[in-house]
Symmetry: C2
């Protein structure tokens, strides 16, 4: 799937960035960082010198890492005494991804490599990974296709009297049978997500999750997603789910209705489609993320939906799209304060949504690739509300 050539080009790109930052190398220990550069998610660390061949050190499973990774230098994880021998003494400035590495881990390696300086490389690590190769785009496209197929089946199992959790369980069952890996990786501290949300009357809830819709969840310990509430007629039923295939995450949302919908909600849905279309057309290299968010917010305001846009009143999210890939919250973010320009090959989930505390939640979400012609939709399925 991930060839040696592809890995070499990822490694060369990172090495160029390390050089720019005047670093002598980087020590990757976070599993998905190691995976990106080695093609194996076994437990270990990757030493990447600023020039030359990286060394993959594996705690468990060495057997499996050797089978999976095309890297040439793979070794069993050394003892603490031998560890410093792996990293040349000339390497005095070493990069690490401090956004995800716990203090205990950093301190452990700082003791092993006493006298070296550790430097945070999180921002440019995320920046690098945000741009997908053709092979990654192909995996994301397949992920989107598989996820879309499960969405297409919803009318076969959505029935009156179900609780949100029953709907979630039926959706997740089909998603897993389609091969979704279930475990959705998020990078941001303090965020966590199960596979997605199935929410109706429980949808308009306050919550910790950085998103427009949080859902009530099953308890105060897991206050997110489906609840025990029964899905009701004439109320939007929102399914916001991720598919995880070969590690690559796509994200989409569709609305289902048993019966009919209030005009205000139908109007809001149409606005979400217009915003999506504006953003899709703008998903070109060079577009500034923040500007796209501000344009979307302006369209919501023009439509009289400022207070409903992207969340519960007082807790509205300040973004309308987020990068996806090996993690659900990759760069770029179409958000206030995010002034980066889009690049060819980035993949973004666009999700204009509206929350009406008394009426429900509504909106659309698809995953797109950034191209010179605008967003290329990876989650091919009609966008319409499915009335049943």
């Amino acid at each position: 799937m991930i060839t040696g050539d592809e890995l070499q080009s990822r490694i060369r790109a990172m090495q160029a960035l390390l050089k720019e930052q005047q670093l002598d190398g980087a020590l990757f220990i976070f599993p998905i960082d190691v995976y990106y550069f080695s093609a194996t998610r076994q437990n270990g660390a990757l030493w990447m010198p600023v020039e030359g061949t990286p060394t993959l050190l594996i705690r468990k499973s060495y057997e499996r890492a050797r089978r999976e990774s095309p890297l040439s230098d793979i070794r069993p994880f050394p003892s603490s005494r031998e560890f410093p021998g792996v990293i040349p003494e000339t390497a005095t400035r070493i990069g690490m991804t401090f956004d995800v590495v716990p203090v205990q881990q950093r301190d452990y390696y700082a003791r092993l490599l006493a006298g070296r300086e550790f430097v945070d490389i999180s921002p440019f690590n995320r920046q690098l990974r945000s741009v997908k190769s053709p092979a990654e785009l192909e995996m994301l496209r397949r992920s989107g296709t598989s996820l879309s197929a499960v969405f297409a089946e919803v009318p076969q199992f959505l029935v009156a009297g179900m609780r949100e959790i029953d709907l979630a369980a039926e959706f997740e069952c089909r998603l897993r049978k389609a091969g979704s890996e279930g475990y959705v990786r998020m990078r941001a501290f303090n965020q966590e997500l199960f596979q997605g949300l199935a929410v109706s009357t429980g949808g308009p809830s306050f919550g910790f999750f950085d998103g427009a819709v949080t859902g009530r969840g099953l308890s105060n310990a897991s206050p997110h997603g489906a609840s025990l509430e029964v899905v009701e007629r004439n109320t939007p039923i929102l399914l916001d789910y991720t598919g995880v295939f070969q590690g690559y995450i796509t994200d989409m949302t569709r609305i289902f209705v048993m019966g009919d919908l209030d005009e205000e909600l139908k109007h809001a849905f149409d606005v979400s489609l217009s915003i999506q279309e504006m953003l899709r057309a703008s998903l070109k290299p060079g577009a500034i993320c923040e500007e796209l968010f501000l344009q979307a917010a302006e369209m919501a305001a023009q439509a009289g939906l400022k207070d409903n846009f992207m969340g519960m009143p007082g807790e509205q999210a300040r973004f309308v799209g987020h990068g996806v890939g090996l993690e659900l919250d990759e760069f770029p973010v179409l958000a206030q304060g995010f002034k980066m320009a889009l690049q060819q090959g980035q993949t973004v989930a666009i999700e204009p949504k509206f929350v009406f505390p008394e009426k429900g939640v509504i909106g659309i979400e698809n995953t797109f690739a950034v191209t010179a012609e605008g967003g290329d939709k990876l989650t091919e399925l009609p966008d319409n509300i499915v009335f049943m």
Copy 2:
């Protein structure tokens, strides 16, 4: 569920430990640490002075945190300028859980609170949480009962021709409908788990996971759990699943067989039952964790199964049980090197298992509470292999 009195007693216990360590307080920012002391898993931080009332600072959702937490002092998260005002200047030594707090987060708070010393309190934080209150034991018992009920249904949906992933999907569907929250929290760096494992021929695999059985998984990115292999007749089908109810995790394993089993596997299963019974009888306050592991390993060796005990040859796990609660990998660990004595009210998943690379994986797992009379089984279901 979690009363104000219960929180007060948790807080007093932590404050006593902070005092012992000559700390002026602790700043909890990891979500499950905040939840344990506040009863709300919203996004924020908990300042706990060594004496007096803690302050809960909430980023999102303040609304929901106020509804859920019985704490008296709950405030919206302050600006960086106001933050130092929340923590008295006299607090110069501040505890933090460095096992899970990323470097970036620690550095952020260290800048806000310049001049203060931050000290790792991970070990005694884990130690404190390992002992469950009567209310927690009741929640764990309910978690075990709900999980057991799903295991009891397996013969209704396990059929020939299924792939491991189909079996996983059907099990998970019922588990979710029973109210399991799905998201299984693990504390250890570099570990991650979906809801559990459904493995048969794919069972005897190498893998990163710290456990006896890892499974092949669906890809190199998610190399754990069910695979696309079809479950076979006359081969053990192992289901190892967690239930997560009100945040509290129980863990159990049962074996199902379509047809009959090889005598060596039946023998190994009987040995796993004997080991479980020895450990159950020993789960009393004062028993030393390491000794229990060594006794279990000795029983396996006496039975001629040393090389099969707890993992693939060369990658055998050095534990036979682990604490469970809000996280799957709590203290205590029945492991080599873990010299702590058991305490009344700890809860431990005991899982003696054997791996035969050519034949399959077999064993048992139940969750027990430590009592003066030995382990009290929280996952009530017969232990036998279910032949179909």
